[in-house]
Symmetry: C2
Subunit: 235 residues, 2 copies
């Protein structure tokens, strides 16, 4: 076999891996969207569907991790490819945890549907739907950055994550007010506290995906780096 | 240089990496212990200390990740060593997130000390101290398993994590009861909900560390595997 042949085969292995990561990302994103639909419509069947799909996301993490160890062991990748492969390994961990958060929301929807929910909490659920859309949008942009290995879009995602954190803080204040005004809502409100937390975490994982894009594209490990240093760093 | 010389140098690189991971583990464990001390004693100075150390844990993650990419790129590790290196990469991610959870608890302690806390919540704080000790013990055992690359101890940690999850569920029920009985405790109780959640997550990360030990030692990827399959799988 010629070197060219070997190299083409290797390229197609890397492309295959990249497609699998994007497929897993699409699945994780769909899980989040569906769990939020299940929440805002209190729709138990959609929640059940999210829970059925959870194992698929988990299985993809294990499969992709296995593929990439095989590639590293066989191909002795260059520094740049190795960076990409390590970024893939970390990214799929975040995608798996995004799927976990969606499943968490789905399980809460099941409990809320089961126990019934006061109309007093309707505005809070809509509130959560709003921050959920912010998180989904951040995740979609992070996955776009992954697909195009676009470090600038990665930086933009990291810049916008604090908006979602601020939204979370506002939600907590509103939930506490609702509980104080009507203590009968306390049990259900605690469930919504955890929904809000899950949504905030989806945003955190979108940010972490963006950090991996920057690492793979530029070679800079920007985890725990102030935003200003990321933007002005020459590359 | 003889092969033997090269191999000895490589071995000492791997030993060095392993020591750094254990050092990082010790630091993360100390962070958790201190954050729980700060909570049960409402001791702001200890909370401040945890927050000062947070960056140290973060920096260690970045440094160790850098070291291990260098080793993979230079040494073309065998399948077994590669497995160990990938397990290290994932494990330090969990240690970093354990440090995050400790910092989360420390920030909550600061807020509780700042706003004052009703004596009505004293039992709940002690409750949290109890589950905190369960989580710290699980983490200590997971780190022992890492140090000795002991897959059997890893399985034992995974087996015991559900106890902590059950403790968390019990705490949630008691917190809801406290809030309903005395709505003036709601704001502070929500903070304690997040403390309980942080402690549960420390347990989840201890379990994830144990999974990585099993992967490194046996080559079995047991994430998302039912416990029975782990125990009976031949190795």
């Amino acid at each position: 076999m010629s070197d060219k042949h070997l190299s083409t085969e290797y390229d197609s292995e890397l492309d295959g891996l990249r497609n699998r990561v994007l497929e897993m990302g699409g699945l994780a994103e769909a899980q989040v969207t569906q769990s939020l639909y299940a929440l805002t419509h209190l729709h138990a069947e959609t929640a059940a569907q999210v829970l059925r799909q959870e194992q698929r996301v988990n299985a993809m993490e294990v499969e992709i991790d296995h593929e990439l160890s095989t590639i590293i062991a066989r191909r002795q990748p260059t520094a740049r490819d190795l960076r990409l492969l390590i970024a893939v390994s970390k990214s799929i961990g975040h995608l798996e945890r995004i799927g976990d958060e969606a499943a968490r929301i789905a399980r809460i929807v099941n409990r809320l549907v089961g126990s019934g929910i006061s109309s007093r909490l309707r505005p809070t659920i809509l509130d959560t739907g709003h921050s959920g859309r912010m998180a989904t949008e951040l995740l979609r942009r992070a996955l776009d950055a992954v697909a195009r290995l676009d470090a600038d879009e990665g930086v933009a995602v990291i810049r916008d994550d604090p908006e979602l954190d601020a939204e979370f803080d506002g939600q907590m204040r509103r939930l506490v007010t609702t509980m104080i005004e009507d203590p009968r809502t306390i049990s259900a409100s605690i469930e919504l506290v955890f929904v809000a937390k899950a949504i905030e975490r989806v945003g955190d994982h979108a940010k972490a995906l963006a950090e991996q894009v920057i690492y793979a594209a530029r070679g800079d490990d920007v985890r725990h780096t102030p935003l200003d240093d990321m933007v002005t760093r020459p590359h």
